[in-house]
């Protein structure tokens, strides 16, 4: 093969591209803009979310880039409170302490006042330090009616072994302010007493990330991340209850505000393998194991396969499977007359469950300048709806109803 000057320049350009985060740069220093909108709908009139997002990355030259992202969430619908169903009509006090809502017999109690909007903004600045090192600084802020979050993160990446191996070291610090409607409830007190403390509380989260990305051959690579996370502060959900039920009939006689530990340590291991086949199809498989000191272990498997079709079209099936064990302090309900534990939650998200996502994405790449795609996904989450400890009327109820959600998403990316 005879190498022209242009080819040599191209090869050198590709050679200097580092593996992570810096694909071959376009000649112009414009903006790469990614936009998308997500429509998320749960069955049975539960949560609905509309979430548009726009992200723009400016190539500053010499592998330096600045990116910004703006997200807006609009959230409506009803959310499970953790209270058990009853054969009788149940009346709940609204979180504000003013007014009530009722739940029909044999229905899962849902708080129908769930409505919120969230605006989130993030910035990221990536800059090479030298030939084999670069750093990435990020800043995020988000605000919703009852929650404010600020976080900053730093990531240092080091290439070695002819840039075939990249080590990543990251830290993130997040400060959150929780400002619940109707003030912060006193843990494990009766909902009817509306025993509330201050108007707000705080929590902070420190994450450490250690990763290695390894090129295996010309068309495949592997990533392994170890994450450590420490959360401290107010970790309760101020809108969730635990029912106290009659020891004979199983009918709820009292609703207590939940209480979780005020700290949580998590460790997770994440591995991802990515391979481009000879026909340019791309296969991706990932696995995550997470464990924490709340007693929760989880396994997540995720697979995608991108079929490359003619004229820039592609179609990508997606399968995700998730499983978690329950928190040590998860209780479907508490029984009247038995000692109340110091920590208790009935939040289904801390219970034992598994979940499956099946989806497909279809799109088209146009001239390296435009990319559009549409993604459709179905999510089903299931737990033990008839636990052996259920008695009395509880044995007839669905104590862990499935969550079924449909996600429709449109993406459009362009260079500007």
């Amino acid at each position: 093969m005879q190498l022209t000057k242009k080819k040599v320049a191209g090869l050198l350009s590709a050679a200097t591209c580092t593996l992570l985060g810096t694909p071959a740069q376009s000649a112009d220093n414009g903006w790469d803009v990614d936009s998308a909108i997500l429509f998320y709908t749960e069955d049975n009139n539960r949560i609905e979310v509309v979430e548009p997002v726009i992200s723009a990355t400016k190539d500053l030259g010499d592998d330096e880039s600045l990116s910004m992202k703006l997200v807006y969430d609009s959230l409506t619908g009803a959310s499970a409170t953790g209270a058990v169903p009853s054969t009788l009509v149940q009346t709940f006090t609204r979180p504000s302490g003013r007014g009530t809502y009722t739940v029909d017999p044999n229905e899962t109690p849902l708080d129908d006042t769930f409505k919120d909007t969230r605006v989130a903004y993030s910035m990221n600045w990536e800059k090479p330090i030298d030939r084999n090192n670069r750093r990435n600084l990020g800043f995020n802020v988000s605000k919703e009616y009852d929650f404010t979050s600020i976080s900053a993160n730093a990531l240092w990446q080091h290439d070695t072994n002819q840039k075939n191996t990249t080590y990543s070291y990251g830290i993130s610090i997040e400060l959150d302010d929780i400002d619940p409607v109707g003030n912060v409830p006193e843990p494990l007190t009766d909902m009817l007493a509306q025993d509330k403390g201050g108007s707000s509380d705080t929590k902070n989260i420190v994450d450490l990330l250690f990763g290695v990305t390894q090129v295996i051959d010309k068309s495949s690579l592997f990533q392994l991340n170890l994450s450590l996370s420490e959360a401290d502060g107010y970790l309760n959900d101020p809108y969730k209850f635990v029912s106290v039920v009659d020891s004979v009939t199983g009918e709820p006689i009292q609703q207590l505000f939940e209480n979780r530990p005020d700290s949580r340590s998590r460790q997770s291991l994440y591995g991802e393998y990515k391979k481009m086949l000879s026909n340019k199809d791309i296969f991706t498989a990932s696995y995550r194991f997470m464990t924490d000191d709340w007693g929760i272990d989880s396994n997540t498997f995720d697979f995608t396969y991108r079929f490359r079709l003619k004229e820039g079209y592609f179609i990508e099936p997606h399968l995700r499977w998730y499983q978690q064990s329950e928190a040590d302090f998860y209780h479907y309900f508490l029984v009247d007359g038995e000692p109340v534990p110091t920590e208790a939650t009935a939040d289904y998200r801390l219970g034992e469950m598994d979940a499956t996502t099946v989806g497909v994405k279809f799109g088209k790449q146009i001239n390296d300048q435009h990319l559009w795609s549409v993604r459709l996904e179905q999510y089903v989450q299931s737990g033990d709806s008839s636990p052996s400890k259920a008695f009395g009327q509880l044995a007839q109820q669905d104590l862990y109803p499935d969550v079924e959600a449909t996600m429709v998403q449109f993406n459009y990316s362009f260079k500007w």
Partner: protein, 73 residues
Amino acid sequence: MKTSYHWIILCAVLATSGCSSLGVKPWERNLLAREDMLMDADALDLAFDEHIYFSKEASSGGQGFSGGGCGCN
């Protein structure tokens, strides 16, 4: 809990020892340099997924930081 720390340390040691026998020459990276071969290709999809699963499940992060910046959990 002790066991889980053991495998984490083992994996960390394996990861940091590197795989010097694997890899390609700089001029063999044309496929790996493609945007769709980045580990964080489809970044907005990943962000949506993180937000959804953060609000529905007890786990988050792994590929990136786990903080949600969201009051949904």
